[in-house]
Structure formats: structure tokens, C-alpha cells
């Protein structure tokens, strides 16, 4: 086994593109395309706060059940793929069984500089919930 130690990896042909061999040993996958460009976990109850994050500078509590995670480094376009989920149980033990969670900036296109989350109860009203988690995949600007 050999271990290569370095602080930065850069592509030779294209600085932003490095191929790594896949687990099967035959196909390759693009390192930069596969890496998550941001992820975050929010406790949306009470005073909304980031529990942990990567490439997120701040969190905005837009309204009940509506949050925006503001990215430190922006995406190049808003056609990124975002995975989002939220727990039905809050840190205080209360339950939001039947909640639905979506992402979007209300009434607007997605943005390159922030990721919005909207959560609602099964009954339809917007609701603050705990443990909202997201990861974002796409191209950095």
C-alpha cells in the first residue's frame, strides 16, 4: 500500500477535472463531479441554527417552515441536484409525523447562492422542524 500526501489535487489537462478509478477497477468517475459541493443540517425549531455544515456561511430563517442556507462559494448555475430530508421528530421529542419537506425559493427560481427549504405539516400548514438535512451536487462557479 502506498499513501500519497498532499494538500491540493489539480488536474493536469483541465485543472478542475481528475478521474479516479471506480471500485470495480475498470470504469472511471470524475472526482470533482462526484464531490458534494455543500451539505448542512439545520435545527429549525426555536431559533433556527446550523448544527453542522460545509460551504455554508449563514442560515436565514425566512418564516415559519422556510429556511435559506447561504453558500460561501456559489454554484455556477441553479441546475444542481439537491437531496433533502427532515426528521419527523424534533430534538425536544415532539413529533411531526406526516410532514412533507421540499426545497425551493418560494415563488422564484432556485438560486446559485443559497438553498431554500420549505417544510409543512401533513395538514398543510408550514412548520418549523428539527434536523433538516441537505446535500448539493453540481458545479461550483
Amino acid at each position: 500500500m502506498s499513501t500519497l500526501k498532499t494538500n491540493t489535487l489539480t488536474g493536469t489537462t483541465s485543472a478542475g477535472s481528475i478521474l479516479v478509478t471506480g471500485e470495480g477497477g475498470s470504469t472511471t468517475t470524475n472526482l470533482q463531479q462526484g464531490l458534494a459541493k455543500s451539505w448542512f443540517t439545520i435545527n429549525g425549531t426555536g431559533t433556527a441554527a446550523l448544527l453542522d455544515s460545509f460551504n455554508v456561511g449563514s442560515l436565514t430563517d425566512d418564516a415559519t417552515g422556510k429556511f435559506s442556507a447561504n453558500l460561501t462559494s456559489a454554484m455556477s448555475n441553479f441546475n444542481y441536484a439537491l437531496a433533502k430530508t427532515h426528521a419527523v421528530d424534533d430534538p425536544d421529542g415532539s413529533s411531526h409525523a406526516g410532514d412533507n419537506g421540499f426545497y425551493s425559493h418560494e415563488g422564484a427560481l432556485p438560486k446559485t447562492t443559497s438553498v431554500a427549504s420549505v417544510c409543512s405539516h401533513n395538514g398543510g400548514d408550514f412548520a418549523d422542524v428539527g434536523y433538516i438535512s441537505s446535500s448539493l451536487h453540481g458545479d461550483l462557479a
Binding site: 498532499t6 479516479v20 471500485e23 470495480g24 472526482l31 439537491l82 412533507n100 425551493s104 418560494e106 409543512s120
Partner: protein, 130 residues
């Protein structure tokens, strides 16, 4: 600070390298509800519209098993991209189905359980490539 410039990274045996504490998704895609064109994607060959609220995503390079983490999120609206949430409306559940090594299905459904097209779909696969 050190910088290594390289185009392809392999293990000494020619296989996959271990990136310390990193595990990258092997596929991701962003697509609309009424079409089958990716807005943006990675390792994604095609999106097939199988009917209302039924899509199949086919990978360019297949996974080694179907025991992967398949993630799917939609924007909870039948409208395309632009939407305004209102209490009691515009909500969809996001379901994964038919997981296979080379493809998988996604199925957005409305509050009443009926399948609906979603204006903005995002799906991601984490696991091992074949």
C-alpha cells in the same frame, strides 16, 4: 503547501483509490416533469418518462449492486420551476422504486396518493461502481 497535478488517480494495483474520509456520489441529475432532458447531470445516460409521475433514470456506468443509497427530492409542485407554496397545496411525496444496478425509478405522488409530474426533480446515487 503542496499541489499534485494529475489527470487520473488509481491505486498501486490499478484499482480504486481510497480518499480519506470521502465517499463521492456516483450519479446525480436534475430534470423537469414533462420532459426527459437533464438540466444538468453526472454519470446519467437518459431520463425516461413512463407516464404521469413515473420516471426511469439510466446510468452511463452501472453500479456493482442494487444495494445503493438512492436519494430523490422534488420541488413539490406540478409547475415547472417557478412556484409559490400555499398552505394546503403544492405538496408531493418523493418515492424511489425499481432500484437496479443500471437504472432506478422515481415516483412523485400528491397528497391524495395519485402520481403527479413534478416540475423539478433531483436524484442521487451513492455506492460502488461496477
Amino acid at each position: 503547501m503542496s499541489t499534485i497535478k494529475v489527470d487520473t488517480v488509481q491505486s498501486t494495483g490499478g484499482g480504486a483509490v481510497t480518499l480519506t474520509k470521502q465517499h463521492a456520489p456516483k450519479q446525480w441529475s436534475n430534470y423537469g416533469g414533462s420532459g426527459t432532458t437533464f438540466r444538468d447531470s453526472f454519470n446519467s445516460s437518459s431520463a425516461t418518462d413512463n407516464g404521469t409521475g413515473q420516471y426511469t433514470i439510466t446510468l452511463t456506468n452501472a453500479m456493482s449492486t442494487d444495494d445503493n443509497a438512492y436519494l430523490y427530492t422534488n420541488n413539490g409542485s406540478t409547475s415547472n420551476e417557478v412556484q409559490a407554496f400555499t398552505t394546503g397545496g403544492d405538496r408531493q411525496l418523493a418515492n424511489i422504486r425499481a432500484q437496479a444496478t443500471g437504472s432506478y425509478g422515481v415516483q412523485p405522488t400528491g397528497d391524495g396518493g395519485a402520481q403527479q409530474d413534478s416540475g423539478l426533480n433531483c436524484s442521487t446515487v451513492l455506492g460502488d461502481l461496477a
